[in-house]
């Protein structure tokens, strides 16, 4: 019984692809040769989210790096300016 079920299932499996479409929207396929359209749009819709999110993340990363470099430059500028003020204070006490 199990063997017979397996044979029937295998037979259906090999016979079905001719009539059953794995793609849920392939029923839209008309008389024209629109295979290229499915392929191109699948590639576009697959690549777009990755490209957009990758682009945004890369841009944010670059902006963050620039902001950090600007903050470090500001810090070093303050550090170099601080002894001068301190020195001026000492001279004022004298």
């Amino acid at each position: 019984m199990v063997f017979r079920t397996l044979v029937v299932a295998l037979a259906l499996l090999f016979a079905a692809p001719a009539s059953a479409l794995a793609c849920p929207v392939c029923g839209l396929a008309g008389p024209g040769n629109n295979g290229w359209a499915y392929l191109a749009m699948t590639l576009m819709l697959s690549a777009l989210p990755v490209g957009i999110l990758g682009g945004v993340l890369f841009w944010v990363y670059r902006r963050t790096k620039e902001a950090e470099e600007a903050a470090e430059a500001e810090q070093s500028r303050r550090a170099s300016a601080a002894p001068t003020r301190r020195q001026a204070g000492v001279e004022a006490v004298r």
């Binding site: 008389p31 749009m41 576009m44 777009l48 944010v60 600007a70 500001e74 303050r78 300016a81």
Partner: protein, 194 residues
């Protein structure tokens, strides 16, 4: 005058304004929305019989007139770039003029598109008459809706700039949305009109 301490951590500024980041995520979602529409259009068109993909009564989409409208829209984007640089240089009055010009050009694009729609509708082209008509009104209409919303944003930015109360983040956010509206239009134009 408060003195800065040597070991004091530097003041951090936002790498990206929150509004711009939010708008970028929204624009990403909108790009996918338009990609879905264009994808459906492309697949349906490729599968349509040769003579079935047309408007009723021999009407053709006004590609030449829309080319002029497209140039107006592109000019609006360029003028907005000028407004951006003038604003960054602190030339508020000149920036306000450029921002107003960009807004007017954008509004002109929407009005000219509306005039074309009126012409098509008067010749009996509606969403129900053909598949091409349905896609045309859906895709171009959705873009026009986005353009109208962006024009309102630019108008508010101009008004606030004139009053001297325009936060930079607000301007950059409105600017980002308008650039999206401008940049996606050539894709729609060349895909739908030809």
């Amino acid at each position: 005058m408060p003195m800065a301490l040597v070991g004091e951590p530097p003041k951090r500024r936002a790498a990206v304004p929150s509004g711009v980041l939010g708008m970028l995520l929204f624009v990403a979602a909108e790009v996918m929305f338009f990609a879905g529409l264009i994808s459906a259009f492309t697949i349906t068109r490729a599968g349509a019989p040769p003579l079935a993909w047309s408007l009723p009564g021999g009407v053709v989409l006004p590609a030449a007139e829309t080319a002029f409208n497209s140039i107006v829209l592109m000019m609006s984007g360029v003028v907005l770039v000028v407004a951006h640089w003038r604003l960054r240089r602190g030339e508020d009055a000149k920036a306000a003029r450029a921002l107003l010009a960009a807004t007017i050009l954008g509004a002109a694009f929407v009005l000219l598109q509306g005039r074309e729609w009126w012409g098509l509708l008067s010749r009996g082209v509606t969403m129900q008459t053909s598949t091409l008509g349905a896609f045309f009104y859906l895709i171009v209409g959705t873009h026009a809706l986005h353009a109208a919303c962006a024009i309102v944003g630019l108008g508010v930015a101009w008004w606030r700039l004139r009053r001297g109360a325009l936060p930079a983040g607000f301007f950059y956010t409105a600017e980002t949305f308008w650039y999206f509206v401008v940049a996606i239009w050539p894709v729609i134009y060349f895909r739908v009109y030809f």
